[in-house]
C-alpha cells in the first residue's frame, strides 16, 4: 500500500467515514492530497510513524491503536488530522496538547483554515447533513424538505 493508501485508511479509522467517500476512486477535487501534504509538512517524522502503524494494523482496530496504544505524539497528531478532515483547519498537535488539560487557556485555540477548498470540503458540513456557508450546490427551495440521509453523506 502507498503512503496515500495508508493515510486514507488512517483517516477513515479516525473519522468513521467510509474510505470511498473520503477518497473516491475518481476524484477531481482530491482534497486528500492537500490534507496529506499539510500533515506531512507539519508533522514529518510523527506522520510517517502514523502511516507505518496504519499499514501494519487491521482497519477495525486501527483507531484504538492510534489513539490509545501509540503514545502521546501520535495521539495528538491524529486529533489534528481528524480536525483537518472535519473542519479544514490545521490545529497543531502541540496546541491540542496544551488545551487538553483540566484548566485550558481562556483564549480560543489557534487554528488556520488551510485553503478555500479545505473549507468547502470539510466533513463537518456533511455530517450535519448541511452545506458550507456560502457554498451550496442544492437547488433553490431545498430548505423546504428534509436533507439526504446521513448514510448518503458519509456512508457510515
Amino acid at each position: 500500500m502507498s503512503d496515500m493508501d495508508n493515510f486514507v485508511k488512517l483517516s477513515a479509522a479516525l473519522t468513521g467515514i467510509d474510505p470511498t467517500k473520503l477518497a473516491p476512486s475518481v476524484d477531481p477535487i482530491n482534497i486528500k492530497q492537500e490534507f496529506f501534504d499539510k500533515a506531512r509538512t507539519e508533522a514529518g517524522p510523527t506522520f510517517s510513524e502514523a502511516l507505518t502503524v496504519a499499514g501494519n494494523t487491521p482497519a477495525n482496530t486501527l483507531g484504538d491503536v492510534l489513539l490509545n496504544q501509540s503514545g502521546e505524539d501520535l495521539r495528538f497528531l491524529c486529533r489534528s488530522i481528524m480536525l483537518l478532515w472535519f473542519l479544514g483547519q490545521w490545529i497543531t498537535p502541540g496546541d491540542l496538547k496544551r488545551y487538553a488539560v483540566p484548566d485550558p487557556p481562556a483564549s480560543p485555540i489557534p487554528s488556520l483554515v488551510i485553503s478555500s477548498k479545505a473549507y468547502t470540503q470539510g466533513w463537518i458540513w456533511k455530517v450535519a447533513q448541511a452545506h458550507p456557508m456560502g457554498d451550496s450546490n442544492w437547488h433553490f427551495g431545498y430548505w423546504n424538505g428534509p436533507p439526504p440521509s446521513l448514510n448518503d453523506f458519509i456512508g457510515a
Binding site: 476524484d27 456533511k126 442544492w138 448518503d152
Partner: protein, 461 residues
C-alpha cells in the same frame, strides 16, 4: 454509491465490447447522420478522416482503467466527435470542411436549430414550428436576405446591459477592432419539442408544471458495436455561440463565418438607454459551448471550444511567447489591464468602443496536455479547412452522476471557462469562478423551480 458503481460497470462492459468489436464500426458512410440520430464510436478508434463522418455520439465511451485521466480522455474524444457532427454542413451530405465557401466552410447543422428569442418570445406566444423561418425584428426586415441569421446578445446574460443584473463581473467583450462580441443560444429539436409540448415557453405554462422539469436524455443503441445500423436517439442539446465581427486583421479562412443581421435590442428604464438598431455584418465563430443530456449523466455533458487565435495563456504572456495577432489580446500593449470588463457606458451602437478600449484577455486556467494533444489530432484531419482553427478547451462531466448529496455530481474538471463566454469569471474560486454544471445547477424557471440545468426557461414572458 450503488449508482456510481453500476455505472462504472456498465461503462466497463461497453468499453470492453468496443475493444473487441471496434473493427465492425461503420465509418464509411458518405454523409453525416441525420441530426435526430446518434451512435457510439469506440473510444480507442484512431483519429483518421473516417471520423469526419462518424456522426453524433449518443454518449462518451471509455477505455480501462477508469482513472480520472482516462475518463476525461473519453469525454474529450466524445466532444470532438460532437463538434465534427454538429458543424457538418446542413445539406446532410457534404463532409465537414468540404463546403463551397472559403476553406471548405458551409452552413452547419446547428444553423437550422431554434434560437432562444424565437422560442421564448417576448409576447409569450407559442414558437413557430420546427424548420420555420426565424422571426425577424421589424427594424431588420428591410435588410434581411435569405440565409441570414439574426444575432443579438452582447453579453453572456441576455440583459447584460441592465445595470441591475450583472452576475459576477460579466460584461461585454470587445475585440481588437473595437467591436462588441455577440452571442447566440440555440437548441435542437429534442429540446425544442419538449419546451413546446410542456408549454415551457411562457410563464403561464411554467406555472402549470407540477413535477420536475426533465428534458429528454439521449438513448444508446442496445448493441452499439455489433450492428452497423444501430442508432440511438439524440438527447436534448443546447449550444451557446460567441461571434466576432470580421474586420481588419481577420482572415475568413480561419473562421467559420455567418452572414448575419446584428440586432441590438432596445434597453430603457436603466441608468442608460440603448437604441434599437440592426445592421449587416459577417461574423466569425470564436466560441462554442455544447451541452448534451445523457441518461447516465443527468447533469449534462459540457463541451467547450474556441477559435485558436482568441487569447494567449497567462503563462505564454509571462514567458513572452506571443503571436503577432489575437482576437482579444494586444501583444504590444504593456499597460493594458488584463481580464477587465470595458468601462461603462456599454452601448453596442457606439463602435469602435470609445477611447480606444480593447479587451485584453488571457486564459487563466491552462489547457491540459490531454486536451491539447487531442485537439492536435483532430486539427490534423481538418487541415486546410476553417475547422482546423478550433480547439477543445475541455469537457466537463459529473464524476458522481446522480449523486444524492451533490446535484452537480462532483464535476471534472472542477472549473471550466471559455475566454469568450466566461471571460471575467475565469479562475478557481468556488461559487464564483466558471463551472458549467455548478452554475447551471442554479438555473430555474420563472417560478423558481429547478429548470434542469438550462437558463433558457427563465427567459419566458
Amino acid at each position: 454509491m450503488r449508482h456510481k458503481y453500476l455505472e462504472m460497470l456498465r461503462r466497463a462492459t461497453v468499453a470492453v465490447s468496443a475493444a473487441l468489436l471496434s473493427c465492425t464500426i461503420d465509418h464509411g458512410a458518405a454523409a453525416p447522420l441525420a441530426p435526430q440520430n446518434c451512435n457510439v464510436t469506440a473510444p480507442d478508434t484512431p483519429v483518421t478522416p473516417a471520423l469526419l463522418t462518424s456522426g453524433l455520439p449518443c454518449k462518451a465511451q471509455f477505455v480501462s482503467p477508469f482513472t480520472l485521466e482516462n475518463l476525461q480522455h473519453g469525454f474529450d474524444f466524445y466532444s470532438w466527435l460532437t463538434f465534427l457532427a454538429l458543424n457538418s454542413p446542413n445539406d446532410g451530405k457534404t463532409v465537414i470542411g468540404k463546403g463551397h465557401s472559403v476553406a471548405g466552410d458551409a452552413p452547419t447543422i446547428w444553423e437550422t436549430w431554434k434560437d432562444i428569442d424565437s422560442v421564448m418570445r417576448a409576447d409569450g406566444s407559442p414558437p413557430t414550428s420546427w424548420g420555420s423561418p426565424t422571426p425577424i425584428p421589424a427594424v431588420c426586415k428591410d435588410l434581411f436576405e435569405p440565409g441570414m441569421a439574426v444575432v443579438s446578445m452582447v453579453g453572456k446574460t441576455p440583459n447584460v446591459l441592465s445595470a441591475i443584473s450583472e452576475p459576477f463581473k460579466t460584461g461585454p467583450l470587445i475585440d481588437q477592432n473595437g467591436n462588441y462580441t455577440r452571442f447566440d443560444i440555440l437548441m435542437n429539436k429534442t429540446m425544442f419539442d419538449h419546451i413546446v409540448a410542456n408549454q415551457l415557453y411562457n410563464k403561464i405554462g411554467q406555472k402549470k408544471v407540477s413535477g420536475v422539469v426533465d428534458f429528454p436524455a439521449a438513448t444508446v443503441p442496445k448493441k452499439p458495436f455489433v450492428s452497423k445500423t444501430a442508432l440511438g436517439t439524440v438527447g436534448s442539446i443546447m449550444i451557446k455561440l460567441a461571434w466576432k465581427v470580421m474586420g481588419p486583421g481577420d482572415s475568413l479562412a480561419r473562421f467559420h463565418t455567418l452572414a448575419a443581421l446584428i440586432y441590438t435590442k432596445p434597453v430603457a428604464g436603466t441608468s442608460m438607454s440603448v437604441k434599437e438598431t440592426c445592421h449587416k455584418a459577417t461574423l466569425g465563430l470564436v466560441g462554442m459551448h455544447i451541452a448534451h443530456k445523457f441518461d447516465s449523466d443527468p447533469e449534462w455533458i459540457w463541451s467547450s471550444f474556441e477559435q485558436v487565435d482568441n487569447v494567449p495563456s497567462q503563462a505564454e504572456v509571462e514567458a513572452g511567447h506571443l503571436n503577432a495577432h489575437y482576437n482579444y489580446f494586444n501583444p504590444n500593449c504593456s499597460g493594458c489591464k488584463v481580464n477587465e470588463p470595458p468601462p461603462r457606458p456599454w452601448d453596442p451602437n457606439v463602435q469602435p468602443f470609445p477611447r480606444g478600449f480593447r479587451s485584453q484577455i488571457t486564459r487563466v486556467i491552462p489547457l491540459s496536455d490531454e486536451s491539447i494533444g487531442m485537439s492536435r489530432s483532430f486539427q490534423a484531419i481538418l487541415r486546410g479547412t476553417v475547422w482546423e482553427n478550433y480547439m477543445l478547451v475541455s469537457t466537463q462531466w459529473p464524476t458522481d452522476a446522480g449523486s444524492k448529496t451533490d446535484p452537480t455530481g462532483r464535476p471534472a474538471p472542477t472549473f471550466l471557462a471559455n475566454t469568450t463566454a466566461e471571460t471575467y469569471i475565469q479562475g478557481t474560486v468556488p461559487q464564483a469562478s466558471s463551472n458549467c454544471i455548478g452554475c447551471h445547477n442554479n438555473a430555474t424557471t420563472t417560478t423558481g423551480k429547478f429548470s434542469d440545468f438550462t437558463y433558457i426557461l427563465e427567459n419566458a414572458h
